[in-house]
């Protein structure tokens, strides 16, 4: 198979084979991160719109770096300094951007489903860079790539995600990826952040409010950032969160000795994670960042490639036309 999507809106709709294909394609772009000269001319003359209707630093820089390394130009839209602040509707903003003839548009928006709405109305590929509480598919893919590199496989892993799962699009995109590989996913956090309906996202999800129980036997421990403003509704004092849920070396020791420790960033040391854990050899945090650029290069390369490549080219391991 090969990648037949025109857009990347979420990981939920991706099949296991499609995910593996994207991860395999990302390998070539991982190598480029190690080159002394990292700039390609592959997408020379193509332009990428980075439409961030919600603030973002690392995801925007990551997509911008990916585009630059492929030789594409980027056009930036930041909501706070744009016509969006003047009341323009999403569809009008999107059509205006499209009229500048970009080849792909990367969208982050506070409303779940906004990238889908835009994708239905524009004639160019759309990449979802995070929509509301829904999905952040490139993060789910880069996390899968990082796990596969660290542990050598994606199949049948015990994955524990700790934090505010309810409000996390990162958690959702990861769940949709990892559940397709038979991973047993444990969601851990205060009860208000792991509501029962979370188990309906995919098969094999377990809710576990006690961190020690959630960590035992984990191959992967994913810590989410605590958005301090969320601690107000209902109130959970930060001290209490730290006491119950901060990932400390002692707690991480309950997981498997080779467990991969992940964090999507930005990381708040001393709140959700102990600095000693963040800097431990088990931490994959910086690999996640590097892999993020590689995955986004692969996505930009594939989605700007024009018509879906159909069934020709076969599996990733098959001979390339090149």
């Amino acid at each position: 198979m090969s990648f037949t999507f025109r857009h990347l809106l979420g990981t939920e709709a991706l099949s296991r084979e499609e995910i593996l294909f994207l991860l395999d394609q990302s390998r070539a772009f991982q190598e480029i991160q190690r080159h002394p000269l990292k700039k390609l001319a592959t997408l020379r003359g193509k332009s990428v719109v980075l439409a961030f209707f919600e603030t973002s630093t690392r995801t925007r820089i990551s997509f911008g770096t990916a585009a630059a390394r492929l030789g594409a130009d980027t056009m930036n839209l930041q909501a706070e300094s744009s016509s969006v602040a003047k009341g323009e509707s999403l569809v009008d903003t999107a059509r205006t951007l499209e009229a500048m003839k970009p080849d792909v548009i990367v969208i982050r928006h506070a409303a779940s489903g906004a990238p889908h709405f835009v994708a239905e109305r524009l004639g160019i590929p759309v990449i979802n860079a995070g929509d509301g509480l829904h999905e952040h598919p490139s993060q789910g893919l880069l996390d899968a790539l990082t796990i596969r590199d660290r542990l050598g496989r994606l199949e049948d892993l015990n994955v524990t995600i700790v934090g505010d799962i309810r409000h996390s699009r990162v958690a959702r995109s990861n769940i949709h990826v990892l559940s397709k590989f038979g991973c047993r996913i444990t969601l851990c956090g205060p009860a208000m952040w792991i509501p029962p309906e979370m188990t309906q996202l995919a098969p094999g999800i377990r809710l576990e409010p006690a961190l020690a129980c959630a960590l035992r036997g984990a191959h992967v421990v994913m810590v989410l950032r605590v958005q301090t403003e969320r601690l107000l509704e209902p109130a959970l004092p930060p001290d209490e969160y730290i006491r119950l849920y901060q990932l400390t070396p002692e707690r991480l020791a309950l997981a498997r000795p080779d467990a991969a420790l992940m964090h999507p960033g930005p990381m708040i040391r001393g709140l959700e994670i102990d600095p000693a854990v963040a800097d431990s050899p088990q931490s994959c945090v910086l690999e996640q960042v590097t892999n993020g650029v590689a995955v986004r290069m692969a996505l930009l390369y594939l989605l700007t490639g024009g018509a879906p490549s159909g069934t020709e080219g076969a599996r990733p391991a098959a001979p390339a036309a090149g």
């Binding site: 390998r27 070539a28 700039k39 001319a41 159909g310 080219g313 390339a320 090149g322």
Partner: protein, 191 residues
């Protein structure tokens, strides 16, 4: 799209002997193997480079480092093809700085693959010298590129294709001249 075998140019034994002769030529021309590295261009350049290195080792004892290179991201026709082709990984486990790098491919045709490979090497460093080795040179160059080592030089027409089959990839060694439409696996840009 039917393809028709027109003629076998080299059988298994001849293919093997041609590769051996190329290896000996490389030894002769490069003198000592100091600083020489072979980089096979995916796909069939890779097993070719491996066989050349084996032959060189057998005859001189010198260990020649081997790398493999995928040139997809350096193709000059990406904006023309219907869909971006699958990217394969490259693996060059040594620094190309100050080395005598010999690019190895099965067929030299328009020269566009060699151009792409040269660009790719420059992104990795500054080789002292880059040379080109092809099992078959079929002519029809579109760029000022020539093989430093050519196993066979064969006159072809534009509507013909050279099909190199190597046991590592295809289960047999032979070289054929084929007429008609290019096979589905043929490279969109060039060979």
């Amino acid at each position: 799209m039917p393809t028709r075998e027109k003629a076998q140019l080299l059988n298994a034994a001849e293919t093997g002997r041609t590769i051996e002769r190329l290896a000996h030529e490389i030894v002769e021309k490069t003198g000592g193997q100091h600083g020489v590295a072979l980089i096979g261009i995916r796909r069939r350049g890779v097993p070719l480079a491996q066989r050349l290195a084996r032959t060189i080792r057998a005859s001189t004892g010198a260990e020649v480092p081997i790398g493999m290179l995928d040139i997809t991201l350096y193709r000059d026709d990406l904006s023309l093809v219907a869909a971006h082709p699958i990217v394969q990984s490259s693996d060059i486990p040594f620094s190309v700085d100050d080395r005598d790098v010999i690019l190895v491919d099965d067929v030299l045709y328009t020269g566009r693959t060699a151009r792409a490979a040269i660009n790719a090497l420059f992104d990795l460093g500054r080789p002292r010298r880059i040379q080109l080795c092809a099992l078959v040179d079929r002519g029809h160059r579109e760029l000022p590129i020539a093989a430093d080592y050519a196993g066979r030089r064969i006159e072809t027409r534009a509507d013909e294709t050279i099909e190199v089959r190597l046991s590592e990839v295809d289960g047999e060694d032979r070289v054929m001249l084929v007429t008609g439409e290019p096979a589905p696996a043929a490279r969109a840009g060039d060979t």
